[in-house]
Symmetry: C2
Subunit: 110 residues, 2 copies
DNA sequence: CTCTATTGATAATC
DNA sequence: GATTATCAATAGAG
């Protein structure tokens, strides 16, 4: 789109990259909403900018609910009781992961 | 795009809706990848079809890592100390406790 | 699925 | 931010 083609690689010019990020981010969010409405799909979209700012979209409910559904889908039917142990990560990180898993499991019990 | 405009509402014809879902889903995933590459952003996209099938995309790492980052972002900066901290147990001990709880929950799910 | 006609997204520009 | 020339996505048809 636009005047001239676009190389599919990181835009080096910071100003240009920022402008493109804003425009395409808006376009992506719009497309996601459209797909959700047109085809009755539940969509979650999370975008972290290069600078770490968060942009999100969740159709049908909250992002948390969607994450839980995701966890249930991937952790449930597909890998019932397979616990792929990770290497000894940072303890805090591992604790957070375990807590999240517990939340998913608790939700599944209801 | 295409021949004729599209009403922004749920497509009633099931065949038409399925075709549109496939096409736009592919387009959305492509756009998400492009935004990630062009603007150096980390993007997570989760799509549940109306029938419950999951389609996902995670640029830069896994979806789990992205979810963790999301949780950290929303639960961290925004609600710094609203997290009921447990007693400062030894990290290893806490991990073992959490794992045990997970096992109990998994058992309950069967 | 492949193939256009046409719209919609957007890169360049102001 | 708004405008416009172009390209890319896609609706409909085969």
């Amino acid at each position: 789109m636009g005047r001239g083609r676009v190389q599919m690689k990181r835009i080096e010019n910071p100003v240009h990259r920022q402008v493109t990020f804003c425009k395409r981010r808006a376009g992506l969010l719009k497309k996601a909403k459209e797909l959700s409405v047109l085809c009755d799909a539940e969509i979650g979209l999370v975008i972290f900018s290069a600078h770490g700012k968060l942009y999100e979209l969740a159709t049908k409910g909250t992002m948390q609910e969607l994450i839980e559904r995701y966890g249930k889908y991937t952790g449930g039917p597909q890998l019932p009781d397979e616990v792929p142990m990770l290497e000894p990560l940072d303890a805090k990180k591992e604790i957070d992961m375990l807590k999240q898993e517990i939340q998913v499991l608790q939700k599944g019990l209801r």
